[in-house]
Subunit: 139 residues, 2 copies
Amino acid sequence: MKSIKDPFLFAVKEYRDSNGIIGIVEDSEIPMAIRRVFWLTEVPDNTMRGGHAHHQSQQVLICFQGEIMVHLEDLTGKGYDYCLKPQGQALYIPPLVWGEYTFHKSAQAICLASDLFDEDDYVRDYQVFKSLQHANQLS
Amino acid sequence: MKSIKDPFLFAVKEYRDSNGIIGIVEDSEIPMAIRRVFWLTEVPDNTMRGGHAHHQSQQVLICFQGEIMVHLEDLTGKGYDYCLKPQGQALYIPPLVWGEYTFHKSAQAICLASDLFDEDDYVRDYQVFKSLQHANQLS
């Protein structure tokens, strides 16, 4: 029950010209397959989304409009904070990391997930996550 | 050198509430792996993007803002036209299909691709595509 990987930011290939902007992520750049893709739009400013961890699923988060304040916490209790913007970066989020994502400035996001949806993979109760932290610290 | 699959629209799972909209595609819903994800933003209205076919790569196109007029043409010369909007649909595009995508109303799109980027996979010259059509019709 240890989180063996840390979150990390990585550069996203981006091509800009007079016909618009293309951003690209390939699975060869990330330590996971891409089994599921979801996108978040029309999120009211100052809304906090997330508020869960995953037992198995890894994710990559890309903010392509606006700004997303990200707060992560891993099984050791270590916190990570990021301000994601459309600036050619994406955030890799390993399993067993609690994540809170607050949307600002009409933020829009794409999330790549390593696994198909499975409700049993979610840890939605922060106290349950804290108990996993506690068990991890004892192990 | 035959296109064995036709393009098709399919329903995208979408969840709307007061915290925004989530749209989701999983690889279990489509006849391809997701090896590459790209997104198109800040495309000026009336811009035509695409203008190529792929030898191997399959794609799924999702319009999550604005409107995209899609014109496809397969190896038999058959044309397909779609108006993609954020209405819970995605378009599957098989290989060896010429595609032209005209962006309107500040359109934004996500594209899922079955393969990593490979310039050799692109057919960027319409006359070359027509010669593939001709060869296909003779075969």
